[in-house]
């Protein structure tokens, strides 16, 4: 009667699991780089009220933060073809992740920018820096440093959320796990391993990003 655990049929597909994990990491990397870049752009427009972009980003942020990621993904993958925009599963997944992370990181980075002490702006102004120079050389790095842990957490959330990209046939880790358990019916073992992989990847990515942040954003090793 008792269930007999057997990981062998799952481990036989280790290559698929690892490919899926690599795909998830790849999606995350692309989503994080482009998403944070979009967030920086949105944050400066919001924080310094650069119209009409500030208003546009405001609408965008609210639209994304108040709708499910899966629906955003379906809209891009199934909805946009009606407008003639046909994207592959990968393209749609990356686009959805960038748009999603872009909205959250706009708000996170905006908080970092708005926490800039007024004296920093005055010092930059007194040295004859213009607004763009002030942002790039004085405001941006300390702002990112202030919110880096929150930003890293958001990247992890998006990485874990990318599991739903399996629903549009992007062959990432969850897709691989689903495929394997449909072949061997070892759902417990398959998803146990997939879960462990997600857990390990999340820990790894968090460590990596925190180290990169310390090195390149805070600017000196701890």
């Amino acid at each position: 009667m008792a269930y007999q655990f057997d990981f062998a049929p799952v481990l036989a597909h280790t290559d698929l699991l690892l490919q899926g994990a690599a795909a998830t990491l790849g999606l995350t990397a692309a989503g994080a780089v482009l998403g944070i870049a979009l967030g920086v752009l949105g944050a400066i427009c919001r924080a310094w009220r650069i119209q009409p972009f500030s208003a546009a980003f405001g609408v965008y942020v609210e639209a994304i933060r108040n709708t499910p990621f899966l629906v955003q993904l379906f809209f891009i993958f199934f909805g946009l073809p009606a407008l003639g925009v046909k994207l592959s599963g990968w393209e749609a997944s990356i686009l959805a992740m960038v748009i999603n992370l872009g909205a959250y990181s706009t708000e996170i980075i905006r908080a970092g920018i708005e926490a800039t002490p007024h004296g920093q702006m005055e010092a930059a102004a007194s040295l004859a820096l213009n607004r763009a120079q002030t942002f790039v050389y004085v405001v941006l790095r300390p702002a990112l440093a202030r919110v880096w842990p929150a930003l890293v957490s958001q990247v992890i959330i998006v990485m874990l959320g990318s599991a739903v990209c399996s629903q549009i046939a992007a062959e990432e880790l969850t897709f691989a796990a689903n495929f394997i358990q449909s072949r061997n019916f070892r759902a417990f073992e398959t998803f146990f391993l997939a879960t462990a992989l997600y857990f390990a990847m999340a820990l790894l990515v968090r460590q990596l990003l925190m180290r990169l942040g310390q090195r390149f954003i805070v600017g000196r090793p701890r």
């Binding site: 002490p117 920093q120 005055e122 010092a123 007194s126 040295l127 004859a128 820096l129 300390p142 000196r220």
Partner: protein, 242 residues
């Protein structure tokens, strides 16, 4: 032509009339101390001189550059005016050397070699040539303020504004900063400083301006007017602070 020429200057913060018609001529090499009670308008006057505060009425000319409302003019003005703040305002993510190099690099577009040489020269001038690679939070308050002076000097300003630059320092660190300012004065730098260091104002300054209710209430040679105030307001003030 005076280096700094201010005439009929008015400034309001909402309904608060902060500067009520300031006329002031600053000559090359002047060392001017602005004193007065809190709220008298002395910091506001100082901040108008590099455009950190806009002016509502009147005219301000620094070395031939008049203050208008466009940003281009403001930036031309600011390249001639250095400013040092009470709270230092060093950029925390940059080393002392990088703080000094930033404006020459991005505003004057000088080469890395040139800006490095400037930074070394200026840090040497303030006695911190060994702190080139130190971050602000690794420096004492006095050292940070000296880096801030070096940073302002790196743009080779015609006039330096000092806004209560020793007020945030521990007492034992005040003198090292004042010594740097005194040396600048001796080298002929034009200085306008808001200060509470009366002895310093008297010993180093060649002109003292007492602000009261948004006007220049009394001004002149500090050794004379501090010893013998002509108005009861200055007499009260000196009695309170000296």
């Amino acid at each position: 032509m005076s280096l700094v020429s201010i005439s009929g200057l008015h400034k309001h913060f909402g309904t608060n009339h902060v500067l009520k018609g300031i006329d002031l001529q600053v000559e090359q090499g002047d060392v001017i101390a602005l004193i007065g009670r809190s709220g008298s308008g002395k910091s506001t006057l100082l901040r108008t001189i590099n455009g950190l505060e806009s002016i509502d009425e009147g005219e301000l000319v620094v070395d031939g550059t008049a203050l208008h409302h466009g940003e281009g003019d403001l930036r031309a003005l600011r390249q001639k005016v250095g400013m040092v703040f009470q709270q230092f305002n060093l950029f925390p993510h940059l080393t002392a050397g990088q703080n000094v190099m930033l404006a020459p690099t991005v505003v004057k577009k000088l080469s890395k070699k040139e800006t490095e040489d400037i930074a070394k020269e200026m840090l040497l001038k303030v006695g911190l040539s060994d702190k080139f690679h130190a971050f602000p939070d690794q420096l004492s308050g006095g050292q940070q303020q000296r880096v801030a002076i070096a940073r302002a000097l790196a743009m080779r300003p015609k006039v330096m504004l000092c806004d209560e630059i020793t007020s945030a320092l521990d007492p034992e660190l005040v003198n090292e900063v004042l010594a740097v300012v005194q040396q600048l004065a001796a080298e002929g730098m034009t200085l306008i400083m808001v200060t509470h260091e009366m002895r310093f104002a008297r010993d180093v300054g060649n002109k003292l301006i007492f602000m009261h209710h948004g006007r220049i209430h009394e001004s002149g040679d500090p050794r004379i007017i501090l010893a013998d105030p002509q108005t009861p307001e200055l007499a009260n003030f000196t009695r309170a602070v000296m």
